[in-house]
Amino acid sequence: MKQLSVPHLLGIKNLKREDLELIYETADHFKEVINRPIKKVPSLRDITIANLFFENSTRTKLSFELAEKRLSADVINFSASQSSVKKGETLIDTVNNILAMKVDMVVMRHPNVGAAEFLSQHVEARIINAGDGTHEHPTQAILDTYSIREKLGSVTGKNVVIIGDVLHSRVALSNIYALKLLGAKVKVCGPPSLIPKHITSLGIEVEYNLEKALQWCDVANILRVQHERMDVKYFPSTREYTQLYGVNMHLLSKLGKEIVVMHPGPINRGVEITSDVADSGHSIILNQVENGVATRMAVVYLLAQQIKRE
């Protein structure tokens, strides 16, 4: 009988390979559950979960909420835009007020790096990091690697390239940790201004030529250009970015092999990826969304299992 080696999901960095494998196995079962006529199990009916989103999110929030509801947990939602945070309340006060309502687990997205870890040290609840600034987004990496495993049978030994705005991407960092843990080979590709210094210290390579990167890979994970996090110009124009780092059908047809195309969403169509690629047979973007619910159910279930009933 197995369980996760961690009490909170703060980042992939804290996980072991066995943890990821346990999450995948559990997610396989939940994937079967969410394809039933009645897509719900009663496991977590005595658990209450708060989804705290201090930063905008559509799919992650919906995906978590659906995963929690499919497990029969009680769910409360909170967005920073309509809360007392605007009135100057601190993070710990906000969360402790919510926990006073007997909440067992907190799913939090926050613009500051380390917010989830900070919270885990100061409050009595299981914490799931749903994205902390430009640091980590563990459940995205779990669903991405789960989708690769589903499509290609295994992640081990596969060549995966992460393309685009690596500098501002929490998805990239979590993916790199997860892919390395599972024994994949990883490259990042993008304009030098959007590739962090010293990223090779994570045991990965940098490739500045998109065509070479695509030729090398089995899987291309294309990141969104995060205009909202760019305080200065990182490249001369969107048009130039698209010409050098936009993935289009012409590039893919030149490869002479099938590669898997992924994108964590939301897509800037015509910027980092063209519509014909996003909607093609190469793309597993919508599978990623479906797998997002199954893998998040697995994470929530496995963490809830550790909460002993009094």
């Binding site: 559990t26 079962h29 079967e32 199990v41 497990l71 009933r309």
Partner: protein, 181 residues
């Protein structure tokens, strides 16, 4: 720990054939009936009944499935050991079907309670029956009784009934194990 053989391979074989006959008697050609084995230990019983029904009783198109009840159990977060799920494979809708749940040992009845809840996720069956190889009577926590029964056993709480299946049919046996603690 002492072990006693409750049923040997020959007795198990006779019981499986009797249960198959009873199923045929009640379900005819099985056109509206599905046999669902409860994971993990009900599957072995299901497989053996399936073999007898298809090879000896001439039943064609027998619909079978495997049901895992982990997510429906009532002892989630109450056990020291975490629960691990098994595969569920039911490739059909159970709406208006006659369902026969199959397990090896009926003890407290809580697994069957969970299975009854789980089965609802696949539609509303017209009826549900229960087939077990061993019924440990006097140990029930819930008002659940089998429809088809292999053998009734009186076992006290520190005893365990263990069904052992082998590739070689002649080595099948059901043991009563006395725990020392």
């Amino acid at each position: 720990m002492s072990t006693k053989v409750l049923l040997d391979s020959k007795e198990i074989d006779i019981i499986l054939h009797r249960l198959s006959c009873q199923l045929v008697e009640n379900h005819g050609d099985f056109s509206d009936t599905v046999l669902i084995g409860i994971q993990p230990r009900g599957i072995a019983v299901l497989k053996r009944l399936q073999t007898i029904l298809t090879t000896e009783k001439g039943i064609t198109n027998l619909a079978t499935g495997q049901l895992d009840i982990t997510f429906y159990r009532d002892d989630f977060r109450r056990r020291d050991e975490p629960l691990q799920a098994n595969t569920t494979s039911i490739d059909f809708i159970l709406e208006n079907k006659r369902v026969v749940l199959i397990d090896d040992v009926l003890f407290t009845g809580r697994s069957i309670r969970a299975a009854l809840t789980a089965i609802e996720s696949y539609g509303r069956p017209s009826d549900i029956e229960l087939l077990v190889l061993i019924d440990r009577r006097f140990s029930r926590n819930l008002p659940i009784q089998p429809t088809y029964l292999g053998k009734q056993v009186d076992a006290v709480n520190n005893e365990k009934v263990l069904v052992k299946w082998h590739e070689d049919k002649s080595k099948n046996a059901i043991h009563l194990i006395q725990k020392n603690n």
